[in-house]
Subunit: 138 residues, 2 copies
Amino acid sequence: MEITITPIGVMRCGLRTPSDAPMYHTKSNETGVLEILSPYREAMHGIEAGQKIVVLFWLHQARRDMLQVYPRGDRSRGLRGVFGTRSPMRPNPIALSELTVLKVELDRIEVSGIDVIDGTPILDIKSASGWQTKETDK
Amino acid sequence: MEITITPIGVMRCGLRTPSDAPMYHTKSNETGVLEILSPYREAMHGIEAGQKIVVLFWLHQARRDMLQVYPRGDRSRGLRGVFGTRSPMRPNPIALSELTVLKVELDRIEVSGIDVIDGTPILDIKSASGWQTKETDK
């Protein structure tokens, strides 16, 4: 079974290479713009400044053939399967970022908290509320 | 640009139709099994009972042509763009679930907290720690 996905937009920011990207988006103060492709703009309706969103990215530069890694490059702890880590290398390299919306325009969502590089395809955007067990159920 | 994704496994559980599935996985006590396909089993190494994992599913029965919805079916609040909601209907219907690992075998991860139906393709599995701003950075 194969699934075909068409990106709904692209990240625009100042991070140029994976080594520029912070290891965890929780440490990132980077801002940038989610550029949404025209067929999908209606789906942005209602997104507002101040809101937290979960963005799914396709890590187009990540290796897909690595099944085990040294977490955070630390060899002392041994190899671990990528499914038990947050490594960008994995068979389907989809990244999750929780970002804060700064501003919304026709086809642009300005956000902070970026941990992916310029040009990264966007697969999906969701409201961040109500999915984690730690959240109150609004 | 088109991206091709091959599922790494499939959900096995007692939920048969989307109407069986709880609206939010935080309310789910359902248990089931993530069956991992043989080429990807090495990537499970290190996953242990008690751990929380984030699982990305492909909602194979979801409509992909809906850009706006009434959140939770409540028409009084008006239509909203799907990117500001948690609706399963969206251009790329990828679901996120935070699940608790109950048991790990060769090619099976028994989990609780399920909110997707039997047969749902699995795209990726990640450690749940360290990605949300609410988490301490371990």
